[in-house]
Symmetry: none
Subunit: 236 residues, 4 copies
DNA sequence: CATGAATGAGTATTCATTCAT
DNA sequence: TATGAATGAATACTCATTCAT
């Protein structure tokens, strides 16, 4: 076993490391990777630049450690909340809520993920995807079972996880950019409502069940005339 | 009218400007904003650095012009396709397809949007949001009419546009990062299927119609035991 | 003899050359050599940059031609005024007045001389000194004769020309830098008064005629106590 | 008081700062402001470019600090010499000698003052004038007292200081440009002789005492014929 | 262990000059 | 002859990283 002093030293180092990551996370998010100077990180902590380099071999490593920590924390957070529930659909809904809640509480984490992508384009495994890979398979299994159980429509499970993953990813980014007023709870409810039930009315859905390609309704659609002309540009 | 020479000169300048933007778009996407040197852009075009500066006052302006051009092109593209259809739901489905198609054909445009956000965090109106603002209101009106017409469920129209916008935004980014195998057509079909019809089975949907909060099914859910335990981390 | 057309062309070229020098003189003086862009000179004249280069092989040559023209004009000006007078002392006094008048009317010429010295340190013959060399010898002869004639004290003539030359040079520069209120006529009168008659009173002058080194009065100087303590720094 | 280390560090920094100014002074004078590269200054000192920027925020500041230092040193030098003398005329003569001596020993300082004027035309207070302002008033008081005491002719004191200031300024510049053979002591003697006693002979001075404008003698001046015709250009 | 002075590779931008039209 | 689009050499300044103390 290690000498007790060694353990103490290790704990102190770990704690210092976390402090550095805290400051770095905030400043990288505030100024962006390039504009965030190591000098400023050191000043915020009241330590010397050299000390940072005793804990992280380079600015790049410091940044990536901060970004990775975000995803680890997200994982822990979701795990804690989800494990309290039994029903898989409930669990999944809770995971969606947690995910949105987490980034709503820490908008700077979103900035960190953007910076990671932009500055380290060629990093083999961006932390977001690293994290995603680790978890997606398990959710696919869940959806597969739910389909077998007849609780979810017969859609390829990976299609579901893709759509939902994309939706959540897009949501936190757009939340961050165009600060939106709705709370994460309301957002989660909206998303779950749409994804669970779809947006079509019962009648429209029935009408469509005899067509092949969604979105190509016949010209005979009765209500068409009452609808205003479509805008010409963005679908969203 | 201007002297003919002036018109010729203007046309030549405009064409040169477009050539520069073409090269810049490609190289900014390939190397990222910071790593893309003006020297390299000039070399790719076989012109001098100074010539670039005759057309754009700074590297920053060159980049932002390239990013803005992406969104203008997207707008034109969607406009052209959508205007051929009559039914509003068809139009909207077509817009979704176009959007995905556009970025699938030009993955480098996605990189440009990321770089814009990361490098120019504080730009008042990132081009993506500039574009979104211009179009979202019209889609909201459409959804409102469709709801009145009973073709879409009674959901607040801005909730629909938010969810769909987030979903599309997330999709193009995740497509870009984690190169996915499915074609934009298939992706569009998946997305439209989920958003139009939801993922719940008919029976689950009926069962839920008596509950308030989606995702909080009762413990008495019969099929629960057949479903495997939920993974602990990511909901997607 | 040349073809008439050639003469016309030559005259036009000469006139264009002068226009360019006019604009260049003003702009070099206003912005300094380095900050004065050839583009701006061309714009002021409403011509293309290339045209300037048809008349002057380089920016350097353009500048030096402008600087040289200043001294040629000064020479002409003094010559005209001086030749109207007969008495050599009158002529010299007139030359002093002319010199000051000239630079008072054209403060930008002073700037040109400064710029010439600063930017072309190693030019073999700065135009001011070129000009000075051409004329100093003649003034020395004059002073020599005036001394022989008993009208000027027996001081080495080149000492006189040095002192007066330095004084005039210093005057126009300090006039330019620290814009002073007195007119060139008054300044000339002051300078001539001091240089012709000295500043000592008759009594002090007599007292000093028995001493060797000017400025080392004996401790026995009677009025000394009434004079305030000397400032510690600048003699001027 | 500060921690000892802080004091030591401060002293080291001050000494390094002076070394940089020494090298910069020499090189700015040798090559001129524009041609003097920061890289070369660093090489001369055997240090990195970055170190220069740790002590001076920009090349401009480095230069201006060097120029200011010149005038501070001049002030100190004159103060030391002048304070040893009692008689005000002696003090003033000593100041003149010191001034000339100072710039004779450091011709590069003259170049620095020229560069300052040429490159930073619009600097609110060029160091030479800053220095002049600080001292001129005290010399004016001295001359005023000397006039009251009857030791100096009744000339407005500021006219004296202007003439002398201009003369000295012109002298150091012309010394620098047209390297002259006479020592600063001899130059000072010449200047003081002229300024204290004037150049006119006793007889000419008497003859002029009945005229108004110096330099406009009548045509009846007897010796005129013996004097050669005046040169046409420069009065100096 | 902690520090911060020293380093120097790296790059956007300018502008005198050229030359095809 | 006149033009002005194109050129590319030239250079101050930054900041991540090192290492002597």
């Amino acid at each position: 076993m290690d000498h007790p002093d060694t353990n103490v030293r290790r704990a102190v180092a770990q704690s210092r490391r976390e402090e550095i990551l805290d400051a770095a996370t905030e400043l990288f998010a505030e100024h962006g990777y390039t504009e965030c100077l190591t000098q400023v990180v050191a000043e915020k902590l009241g330590i010397g630049k050299g000390t940072i380099y005793r804990h992280f071999p380079s600015k790049r490593d410091l940044f990536l450690a901060a970004a990775d920590r975000v995803m680890v924390r997200l994982g822990t957070r979701i795990e804690e909340s989800v494990s309290k529930l039994q029903d898989p659909i409930d669990q999944w809904c809770e995971a969606v809520r947690c995910f949105l809640q987490f980034f709503a509480e820490h908008p700077e984490y979103v900035e960190l993920l953007i910076q990671e992508r932009a500055q380290f384009k060629n990093r083999s495994r961006p932390s977001y995807f690293e994290h995603r890979e680790r978890n997606i398979q398990r959710w696919r299994e869940i959806f597969k079972s739910l389909i077998s159980a007849g609780r979810i429509r017969d859609i390829a499970p990976d299609r579901i996880t893709d759509v939902v993953g994309d939706l959540l990813y897009g949501t936190i980014f757009l939340n961050y950019f165009a600060v939106r007023e709705s709370s994460p709870e309301v957002q989660a409810a909206n998303i779950l409502d749409v994804v669970l039930s779809g947006i079509l009315s019962q009648s429209e859905r029935s009408a469509r069940e005899h067509e092949q390609t969604p979105g190509h309704s016949g010209i005979e659609r009765s209500l068409q005339a009452e609808v205003p002309p479509a805008p010409i540009l963005d679908p969203a």
